[in-house]
């Protein structure tokens, strides 16, 4: 393929489309569905019948977007992280301080290696009472098949003040390894900029990491996340939990429910439907012997007239050899909400997801503050 074609592969046709449609990224059902939308009726739903027919047409931009970008987004669900910074005083104009010192730092942000390019540079904008930084990276990976060859990922970092408290909330959203690392750089720049302006007490943001908790507190933290917030999210069911037994606490109590794991179990993943009251999570005296790696909670939600359920995954990502497990940052992943009320339009769906994301971040903040010894009351 010529250089020009590689650059401009926003949409494909002909043999390249055929390769894409035949790949495992696109299901037979999806090919059949687009064919039918075009008014073409194939002899069967099998790819051997549908792919040749569809690849001899031109897809409209909307059809292509629906086909490709939805399948790519399956592989790159956005992940949210929250960090906080304590303000020096409640009348400090943190926004002015940030906007004065941050832009120069952002302009110095560069790629850490050649596998990606920052295609849209990060810039700070003010949206309501929040400062918003978005950017885009293009991943270059010529070793994989066409679909992976050039993928675009967005990263976002948002800073806002938390209600009446003297705390700034820094939320980062990433959907790939590259944007995860760039976000971390940006958060460090933000902390430095705010501290330089004299509005925050420390030059480091408070992250929620694995090492922020004792085993006990960590279990309590996860459990409390299932309570919901009484407004958007009601009490949820824990339906998946991953635990690791603490190798430094091998002397499990004699209770039959837990003693069997001694010297036998290293880690365990329990997949079920309402795990809220299983032995491990019910008995507080067991908490110190294991750590929770991840937990999936299925919440009922209500946003305006929209009602349904949403599965949220809370987890500490696995760390590489060079990173200590304590540094692993607490991450939130939201699945697409499932609506029990009649299907809402695209705008309403997006709004509901946004409300759920705000709600989970707020629950995480509150529960973390409850457990954190340093965040003494600000009154």
């Amino acid at each position: 393929m010529s250089y020009a074609k590689r650059l401009e592969s926003l949409i494909v046709f002909g043999p390249e489309l055929r390769v894409l449609l035949s790949s495992h990224h696109i299901s037979a059902g999806e090919v059949h569905s687009i064919l039918r939308s075009k008014g073409i009726y194939a002899p069967s739903r099998e790819k051997r019948d549908t792919v040749p027919l569809l690849s001899t047409t031109l897809l409209t931009p909307d059809e292509f977007t629906k086909l490709v970008e939805l399948s790519v987004s399956r592989e790159s669900v956005p992940k949210h992280r929250v960090a906080t910074m304590a303000l020096v005083a409640d009348d400090s104009d943190w926004r002015a301080g940030l906007l004065q010192n941050l832009p120069a730092r952002l302009s110095e942000l560069s790629e850490s290696d050649q596998s990606y390019k920052i295609s849209q540079r990060p810039a700070a904008t003010v949206v309501g009472d929040r400062v918003h930084i978005t950017y885009t990276i293009d991943r270059k990976d010529f070793s994989k098949d066409w679909l992976q060859r050039e993928l675009t990922f967005d990263g976002t970092v948002e800073i806002s003040a938390k209600g009446k408290e003297l705390v700034l909330e820094v939320t980062s959203v990433h959907s790939s390894k590259e944007t995860e690392l760039v976000n971390q750089k940006i958060v460090r720049m933000i902390s430095a900029a705010l501290h330089l302006a004299g509005v925050t007490t420390s030059s480091d943001a408070n992250h929620i990491s694995f090492g922020s908790f004792s085993n006990s507190d960590r279990v309590k933290f996860f459990k409390r996340l299932s309570a919901g917030n009484d407004k958007v999210l009601r009490t949820g069911n824990i339906d998946n939990v991953e635990i690791v037994l603490d190798p430094e606490k091998p002397d499990l109590p004699d209770d039959a429910e837990i003693s069997w794991m001694k010297d036998i179990v290293k880690s365990m993943r329990i997949d079920g439907e309402k795990l809220n009251d299983i032995f491990l999570l019910r008995e507080e005296s067991f908490y110190e012997y294991f750590s929770i790696q991840s937990m999936d909670i299925l919440y009922p939600f209500a946003v305006d007239a929209n009602v349904g359920t949403c599965k949220v995954r809370y987890f500490f990502p696995k760390t590489t050899k060079s990173q200590s497990r304590d540094e692993s940052e607490f991450t939130i992943e939201h699945s697409s909400p499932k609506f029990t009320t009649p299907a809402a339009n695209e705008d309403a769906r997006r709004n509901v997801l946004k409300e759920i994301q705000l709600a989970t971040r707020s629950i995480v903040d509150i529960e973390f503050l409850r457990l954190s010894p340093e965040t003494a009351s600000d009154d």
Binding site: G39, T57, L59
Partner: protein, 308 residues
């Protein structure tokens, strides 16, 4: 009642004949009698059929597969009423679909069809496909395709069937009408993008016939030659958005093959006063390409006076 059916049938035939002519299907063949060769085929009264055939047949050499000639078996259904409720619509569609499919199953063995093919001097592979042209009077350019999407078609099917209904027919009509008005005096051809495989590089990439595959795509590339210059028109049944326009630009630049320097992108709703800024921003994504690119609307409105 019989009178009205006849009239609606005649109107349907006339409509189909004219729209196919507009897309370059000059030699559609009508009134071919086909003997029924399958015992399982039944007529409306439930008796075994003796003859059936599509309303018209069109034969063309595929611009996408070098060894293929396509035979399109065309069935025309026209209603002087609005489209019925979804349930009835689906039932009617199944009936029309099966009727057409059965006609094709027997047509491939028909002497009359073979004679027509031989007169065409076909390539080594013959592909028989169905085309259902289905028009309702009172629904304008509303599409029934989404309502029909989920239909279960049982039985052994061997031939693909294409549906050109109101929205597609209106699109083809609007595109050809607009194209006729542009660059009057120029030589106008449909452009055939390289959609197939094993293409003979000697095959011409343009012609007078719009292949069925492109007619059903909702995207039509047309090239016009005048004063030794080529201009490429990409008509798309695609409402404007910055992202959609960028993708159409991509199509145009790939299809134009660096040979065409003047490109026009037609959408049904482009309005320079609303979309102009987005279009300019999208154009910047291809800033190292020197082609002149002009967006426009192929549906005439007052703001189209502002174009060009």
């Amino acid at each position: 009642m019989g009178e009205t059916s006849k009239t609606s049938g005649e109107i349907g035939e006339a409509l189909a004949e004219r729209i196919t002519r507009k897309i370059g299907w000059e030699n559609t063949i009508g009134n071919i009698s086909v003997d029924c060769v399958k015992k399982s085929h039944k007529s409306i009264t439930g008796k075994s059929r003796t003859t059936h055939g599509a309303d018209r047949v069109f034969i063309y050499d595929s611009p996408f597969h070098e060894d293929q000639t396509t035979v399109v078996h065309i069935s025309v259904k026209n209603s002087l009423n609005s489209a019925p409720a979804v349930g009835t619509l689906r039932t009617q569609f199944k009936k029309h679909f099966l009727e057409l499919h059965e006609a094709i199953e027997c047509s491939i063995f028909s002497v009359n069809i073979k004679n027509q093919l031989d007169a065409h001097s076909p390539r080594s592979r013959i592909s028989h496909v169905g085309l259902l042209i289905w028009h309702f009077k009172d629904i304008g350019n509303r599409s029934i395709r989404e309502d029909l999407k989920a239909i279960e078609l049982t039985g052994s099917l061997n031939h693909p069937v294409y549906l050109l209904e109101n929205s597609r027919l209106e699109f083809l009509f609007a595109v050809m009408t607009d194209s006729d008005k542009r660059m009057i005096g120029s030589e106008s051809r449909f452009h055939y993008p390289e959609l197939g495989e094993n293409l003979n590089p000697g095959d011409p990439r343009r012609g007078n016939i719009l292949p069925l595959e492109l007619a059903a795509s909702g995207i039509i590339p047309i090239v016009k030659f005048m004063n030794q210059k080529s201009t490429l028109f990409i008509y798309a049944d695609q409402k404007f958005s910055g992202d959609a326009y960028k993708k159409l630009l991509n199509y145009a630049l790939l299809i134009g093959h660096d040979l065409v320097l003047d490109i026009w992108i037609g959408m049904p709703d482009y309005d320079v006063s609303i979309h102009g800024e987005s279009a300019n921003i999208a154009r910047l994504s291809f800033k190292d390409r020197t082609e002149t690119i002009t967006p426009f609307s192929y549906l005439p409105t007052l703001t189209s006076l502002l174009e060009g």
